[in-house]
Amino acid sequence: MSQPLDLVAPTVLDLAADAGLRVLAVGAWPLADDGELPNLAGFIESSFSPLVAQTAERCLRARYGAPPADPARGERTALVLASTSGDVTTAVRVARAVDDGARVGPLLFFQSVPNAVLGHVAARWELTGPLLSLASTRDAFPATALLIADGDADEALVILAEQDRDDPGRDRAVAVLVQPVATSAAAVDGDPVPAGLDLLAATPPTATEPPYAVPTGPVAAAAEPDFAAPVTPAGPMTSTELMTPAEPAELVVPAPPDEPDEPAAVEVPDPVNRPGGDEK
């Protein structure tokens, strides 16, 4: 039910079509000639967010050339991220740091949330449709079709990403820009081949293993809490429990361009003005 899809681009095109969506452009990682995934400024230690950003970049470049997106479309373009693995590397790093009593890097804070890399892509390409993050790649196209049919978006950038927790060389992702088939029927440009598909032709399919098995046998019944039992409410804090008031430090992320600069302990380059990068 929640097993990851084989992230082969032609399969993704079929699945989009099954959900009534036409693919306008596609990007994928890795392609045949790809080496290491480029770093994504402001995101550390895990390949997940760079994977999502790079794949999205390829898809959007195939459609628009360079950022930003066409304003008339960007405003109505949703961003959908579906991943069964999620950013498992960041989760493990944080758990390890907590268990070891080690310092947790402040940058891990916002990257531990799937929305953050979507925010990066949205800012860079000026996409202001809804954001959606799902835990199963199988949900991606049905949920996208539902969202568009509901009316808060006309198109969607759908990114399917799977991180291999042991081997970054086996990370894989596909990004497609989709719109409903009915819209396409009235579209002026009649080219049926999604932009960027030619780059994928040489990429061999990758084997996929589910990261977990859905249990088939009986599962032990949950121990439900007693809803009738009153819960002792947390008491007011005593003076010894109150933190010594300290000057609050703002979240250590520098301001976007139209705000005055604030002091930051950690340098996070402004994603909107980040250089175009050196991806293929």
């Binding site: 039910m1 929640s2 959900a19 009534g20 960007g74 949703a78 693995s85 999620g86 950013d87 498992v88 493990v92 944080v94 758990a95 947790v104 891990l108 804070f109 916002f110 531990s112 799937p114 929305n115 979507l118 925010g119 949205a122 800012a123 390409w125 000026e126 202001t128 954001l131 959606l132 993050s133 799902l134 835990a135 949900d139 079709a145 539902l146 969202l147 509901d150 808060d152 009915a182 977990y212 859905v214 949950a222 121990a223 439900e224 809490p225 809803f227 002792t232 409410p233 947390a234 008491g235 804090m237 109150l242 933190m243 609050p248 703002e250 979240l251 250590v252 992320v253 994603p271 909107v272």
Partner: protein
């Protein structure tokens, strides 16, 4: 798999389907069932206290709003779902084929498993299977995960893909998220979450588990179900601005609110209460106030606003659903919750904040607003039953 709408079909009957709420339950540090949380919100009494659930010795801030002991997320979700389902007057046999939309961060033990996983999808699948529901879908978009699930449920019902949907969400304060928020300097060093207040210093985490049964009006009437409220509208939009900061002028949030009002077919001056996102974060509250003023126009001067995070904390993926439940119950009870922790007005947050005590009002409509990293914005419009 939850079905998707057929390619762009326009229903023959153009009357929109009404979406109604028939059962709710919510668990926070104030207890289970939801009444205890509403009571505390009406009193304006915060639940923040020193964390005992895990070691906070190395943290700058050591405070959150938690249930006692070591509650289990699966157990709490199961219990909350059962409670909401029961309150809706439904039995086990009604669950077959009903979709379960679940907002969660992931499996709390997943990162430490022998084969680590994030595990949100698996958690949802197992919960649905064990509870007798149909297919499950897990939403992981942080602080808008729950409200997004509600909007999707409403869309499914309106598009005729289901008659009944169970939406659930859960977050229990844990060491890893606490460490991340503390490292990011997001937690309030003075131990209070002060939405829209002068001197606000950040957010505090809180336990939140909630469940809401949504149905079509017709399905509810067919079984004479109690209707607690209507989900009259919903809206979603993105800021396209930054990885974690909201757009300061609030335009993304305003678009989400406007979409909700439009779906509901009402104007801003018909809104009688806003349950704000109000995380107590300096820049985020100001951006939200700007967005609300933009969307609500002159009516913003007199629409009462409160953020109940001030009493139950920021419950991350579950917050949107806890707050929806509180909003529905407040409308039914005819009393609006207090915006607790208030020290004084901030000119950047010029709203009609409920600070002197609860207000005995029974609005026709209320908004519940949520915002998340990446510039995600959602607005849910609740209509009195």
């Amino acid at each position: 798999m939850i079905p998707h709408p057929p390619a762009y079909h326009r229903p023959a009957d153009h009357r929109p389907v009404d979406v109604v709420v028939t059962g709710v339950s919510a668990t926070t540090a104030w207890g289970r069932g939801a009444e205890a949380t509403l009571d505390a919100a009406v009193r304006g009494e915060p639940a923040f206290a020193t964390v005992r659930r895990f070691d906070v010795g190395g943290r700058r801030v050591k405070v959150a709003a938690t249930l006692p002991g070591q509650p289990d997320l699966d157990d709490e979700l199961t219990g909350t779902i059962n409670d909401a389902w029961h309150r809706a007057g439904l039995t086990a046999r009604h669950r077959e084929g009903v979709p379960l939309l679940l907002a969660v961060h992931g499996d709390p033990a997943g990162a430490r498993a022998a084969e680590p996983v994030t595990g949100a999808g698996r958690l949802a699948a197992q919960l649905a299977g064990r509870s007798g529901f149909g297919d499950a879908r897990a939403y992981t978009s942080a602080c808008v995960a729950a409200s997004t699930a509600v909007a999707d449920a409403a869309a499914m019902l309106r598009q005729g893909l289901a008659d009944r949907v169970m939406v659930a969400a859960g977050y229990l304060v844990d060491a890893d998220q606490f460490a991340l928020f503390d490292a990011g300097r997001a937690l309030a060093a003075d131990g209070q979450l002060r939405p829209f207040s002068a001197g606000r210093k950040g957010l505090l985490l809180g336990d939140g588990v909630a469940a809401v049964v949504l149905e079509t009006d017709r399905a509810a009437r067919q079984r004479d179900a109690p209707v607690l409220a209507r989900l009259a509208g919903w809206g979603r939009a993105g800021d396209g601005y930054h990885v974690c900061r909201p757009r300061p002028d609030g335009t993304g949030l305003a678009r989400a609110v406007e979409a909700a009002l439009k779906r509901g077919g009402i104007s801003a001056d018909q809104v009688g209460y806003v349950n704000a996102h109000g995380s107590g974060t300096p820049h985020s509250d100001a951006a939200e106030a700007a967005g609300l003023r933009l969307a609500l126009g002159p009516a913003a001067d007199r629409i009462p606003v409160s953020s109940t995070k001030s009493v139950h904390g920021q419950a991350l993926e579950a917050s949107g659903l806890v707050e929806l439940v509180v909003t529905v119950l407040a409308l039914n009870r005819g009393v609006l919750p207090v915006n607790a922790g208030f020290l004084g007005p901030d000119a950047a947050c010029a709203l009609d904040l409920i600070v002197d005590g609860p207000r005995s009002v029974r609005p026709e409509y209320a908004l519940s607003v949520n915002v998340a990293f990446g510039g995600a914005n959602t607005a849910l419009l609740v209509g009195a039953a």
